[in-house]
């Protein structure tokens, strides 16, 4: 008997749907207790369009092929001491920031999507989230394996996950991830899949990956590109979930819009760290933060939101401010890292003449006017031996947890931007209208934040002095401070010197 032909769509449906059932011994609301409290109304989960039709057998097969290739590159990179082909060892500050600040978010995404993979009521949505949950585990694990070789040869990469839970600037990514994870499932996926992965992913990915390519870091390039096909699935999921919520019920629009506003701002503030990485840590920068923002957010993001306007969704609130800040962001963030370079787990360094010329070119309206003078001043102080790190701890924004360094770029770029709210008789400071709005909408949530500086003052971080706190962070003395004169620097010179001598011989 010749078998009936099944088209792919139908076949996939049979392989994902219809295996779940309406429970009869327990109310479905008890089996899926978390997917209604946020107020999102889903009238028909069957309308969910699976964004990628991948059965497990195909998944294992494709992913195994990718893993074989990736680990072959990682192995040969280690065998051939690929680290010696970097543009400069100072570039590794970017990788130090990556493994301490980004890799732990991959793990967070793994757990967050596992939560959704169990708790969304729709079978198709659950399967999509599970696939992403295991992908994100992949990203965490492959990043740890790739960067392992750097850890063997450089400082500052030895305890990324321990540090993620404690270090002052790592509470920026940590609180970002935990914000989404502690929210309901629909808000989580709006935050991670849409605001972060769909709207802003290129702002993270391009700087790190093409930055790696520009600086001879073939290991990072390889895992980055290997993860890209996963990411394109994740982005599709992000778009699908937004459309699905908006198509299911008109009451969902204001909720989704508010989440969009909130998580756009939250993710954007997290990316402030990336802006500094992109413009200052990379020895050779493929493109500036501002250029990336113009292409990936203003142009591409603008087109996306135009497309979504048919659902009634508008651009996220304060996006104009983010665009105006693009001229200032990286300079302000790198400045604070340089001033607190005694308390970072990566090396800081002042921009070279060449770098400053590049910055002048990329930021013609702001760099020479506002920022070049300060870097030159610090350079002079360093030469004279009068440069001092900040001894006082900075005040942090209650929401994004970045030190209060941002300014009123639209009116007076030298004026600090400072907002405050009151909640139950206490005062809470925020860095911007975006962060203040977020606080004011859920003060009970953001009042809980584990603010590193408060915690230090309360004696919860190893002691009252900077060396005690750094020890508690497991920052070794050789991990931070100036790159010039560091162990990493010395080692680099030794390799390059050896190379030179061998070549001469």
């Amino acid at each position: 008997m010749p078998a009936k032909k099944l088209n792919l769509r139908k076949r996939y449906e049979l392989l994902t749907r219809g295996m779940g059932w309406e429970t009869t011994h327990h109310d479905m609301d008890d089996v899926f207790p978390y997917d209604s409290f946020e107020g999102i109304k889903i009238t028909d989960w069957d309308k969910w369009e699976d964004p990628f039709r991948l059965t497990m057998d195909a998944y294992w097969k494709f992913q195994a092929e990718k893993e074989k290739k990736l680990y072959a590159v990682i192995d040969s990179f280690a065998q051939n001491n690929g680290q010696t082909n970097l543009s400069d060892a100072s570039y590794l500050s970017a990788i130090k920031l990556f493994i301490t600040g980004v890799t732990p978010i991959e793990y967070a995404a793994h757990r967050g999507f596992a939560h959704l993979g169990r708790h969304f009521r729709g079978d198709g949505a659950r399967v999509a989230c599970q696939m992403q949950a295991i992908d994100e585990l992949r990203h965490q694990q492959t990043q740890v394996h790739t960067i392992s070789h750097y850890n063997k040869h450089f400082n500052g990469l030895h305890d990324p996950f321990y540090q993620f839970d404690r270090v002052w600037y790592l509470s920026v990514p940590k609180s970002f991830a935990e914000d989404a994870m502690t929210a309901g499932p629909f808000e989580f996926i709006t935050s991670i899949s849409f605001a972060f992965e769909y709207v802003l992913t290129n702002m993270l990915f391009v700087p790190f990956m093409s930055g790696a390519a520009y600086n001879g870091d073939m290991a990072t390039v390889t895992f980055g590109f290997s993860a890209q096909s996963d990411e394109s699935r994740h982005m599709t999921l992000g778009l699908e979930i937004i459309k699905f919520m908006l198509e299911q019920h008109e009451d969902n629009l204001p909720i989704v819009q508010r989440w969009m506003d909130k998580h756009f701002w939250r993710a954007y503030r997290l990316l402030a760290l990336v802006s500094a990485m992109q413009d200052y840590m990379l020895t050779n920068s493929p493109l500036s933060w501002k250029e990336a923002w113009d292409v990936y957010f203003v142009e591409n993001g603008g087109a996306l939101f135009e497309d979504l306007s048919r659902y009634g969704l508008r651009m996220p609130k304060y996006h104009e401010l983010a665009t105006a800040e693009a001229d200032h962001l990286s300079h302000q963030v790198w400045s604070v890292f340089c001033l607190l370079g005694n308390a970072t787990g990566f090396h800081t360094f002042l921009p070279t003449e060449e770098k400053m010329d590049w910055l002048s070119e990329k930021y013609p309206d702001t760099f020479d006017k506002y920022y070049r003078p300060r870097f030159e001043h610090w350079a002079k102080q360093k030469e004279e031996g009068t440069f001092k790190y900040l001894e006082a701890l900075p005040q942090l924004c209650q929401v994004c947890q970045i030190p209060m360094i941002f300014t009123e770029v639209e009116t007076d770029p030298m004026q600090l931007s400072f907002r405050a709210s009151e909640y139950k008789g206490d005062k809470y400071n925020t860095c911007s209208d975006g962060c203040k709005d977020i606080f004011d909408h859920e003060p009970e949530k953001y009042a809980q934040a584990w603010l590193p500086v408060h915690q230090i003052f309360q004696g919860n971080c190893g002691g009252a002095t900077i060396p005690e706190v750094l020890e508690w962070y497991k920052f070794a003395p050789e991990d931070g401070g100036d790159y010039i004169g560091s162990q990493d620097h010395a080692r680099w010179q030794e390799w390059k010197g050896t190379d030179k001598k061998v070549k001469e011989a």
Partner: protein, 336 residues
């Protein structure tokens, strides 16, 4: 030549990440398994309580009554991290694919006696719902567990169960030339046929269990410890004797999978029971509770599958399971 010389002069300054150095020393580089799964999960300084569970921190060891001094005492004996896991499964799926293609191309089902096909429809096809539930339950464990070694092993298990639910579905489609009647009948049986209702009830009770480690025991120790030997092994053998070797070919994946999986469940039982008297008591309480419940639920299925022989088959499987768990440190089990 120059490369060789410089490569020789480059000595690493450390061999492992700090957490692994603390755990395993710095004499040799850590393994990829160790790097991938140890101490990745956050353990401290959480920012916000989950809106969906205000009684716990985001990651909270007290989501189970099991207490471990170090949640990383458990290590997967297979040493699976994502790369080795997918590569292992890719090989197995290659064999499975080959088997499915072979059966399809040669029309091997044509020679399987109708009673055997019917038996497969009635006993094997409903198992797609059982695997689907196992997927949900392991996803629940991934969500709620404590430690990245646990979330890794549970995540892989969850995806395996989805894969196996899909293999059973494909078997169901082959049984009727893609007419879907077998799948529809299987679902109807799962929802209504008396022999499946006890099991479905027990599984629905598992969906709402509070303690993820109890769910681990109920699903991965007990239910799997009964269903796989009874239905994918013994029942398949019976089908083979009756002329259904073709069907057994299509569930080879499940057989291999189970042999592999008991390695980590055994290791987990051992480590957890050894930790303390209290853990050991919880494990035996949960094992007894779910063995009673699930053996009872499987009795009508066994009777349907094996006829008069069914209860004896089930009892043997149960005894094997309890003997194995006892050997791995869960004492105080109620043997018949």
């Amino acid at each position: 030549m120059s490369i060789e010389i410089s490569a020789k002069t480059i000595q690493p300054v450390r061999l492992s990440y700090g957490n692994l150095k603390e755990r395993f020393g710095d004499k040799k580089p850590a393994s990829r398994y160790q790097e991938a799964v140890y101490d990745i999960q956050p353990t401290a300084n959480f920012h916000y309580r989950p809106l969906w569970d205000k009684n716990h921190e985001l990651y909270d060891a007290s989501r189970t009554a099991i207490v471990m001094e170090d949640w990383y005492s458990f290590a997967d004996p297979r040493q699976y991290y994502y790369g080795t896991y997918t590569i292992a499964r890719a090989k197995q799926q290659d064999v499975a694919e080959h088997n499915f293609a072979f059966v399809d191309k040669r029309d091997l089902f044509d020679s399987v006696p109708e009673e055997v096909k019917q038996a497969a429809r009635e006993i094997l096809v409903p198992l797609r719902h059982v695997e689907w539930a196992a997927n949900m339950n392991n996803c629940q464990i991934t969500d709620e567990c404590y430690g990245s070694n646990f979330s890794t092993v549970a995540m892989f298990n969850a995806m395996d169960r989805l894969g196996m639910a899909q293999y059973v579905t494909r078997l169901g489609l082959l049984l009727d030339g893609n007419e879907e009647t077998s799948l529809d009948a299987g679902k109807k049986a799962w929802m209504e046929a008396p022999e499946w209702q006890g099991l479905r009830h027990a599984i629905e009770d598992m969906f709402v269990l509070d303690d993820w480690f109890e769910l681990m025991v109920a699903q991965n120790f007990v239910l799997d410890g009964l269903v796989f030997p009874l239905l994918y092994d013994r029942f398949e053998k019976k089908l083979t004797t009756d002329g259904g070797a073709t069907i057994a070919m299509l569930t080879e994946f499940m057989d291999d999978w189970y042999k592999e999986t008991v390695r980590w469940t055994n290791a987990l039982a051992k480590v957890t029971a050894k930790e303390s008297e209290a853990n050991q008591e919880l494990l035996s309480e949960w094992t007894n509770k779910w063995t009673d419940r699930l053996v009872g639920a499987l009795e009508p299925v066994a009777a349907k599958a094996f006829g008069a022989d069914g209860i004896e088959q089930l009892t043997e499987v149960k005894e094997e399971l309890l003997a194995r768990l006892t050997k791995n440190g869960i004492t105080g089990l109620k043997r018949s």
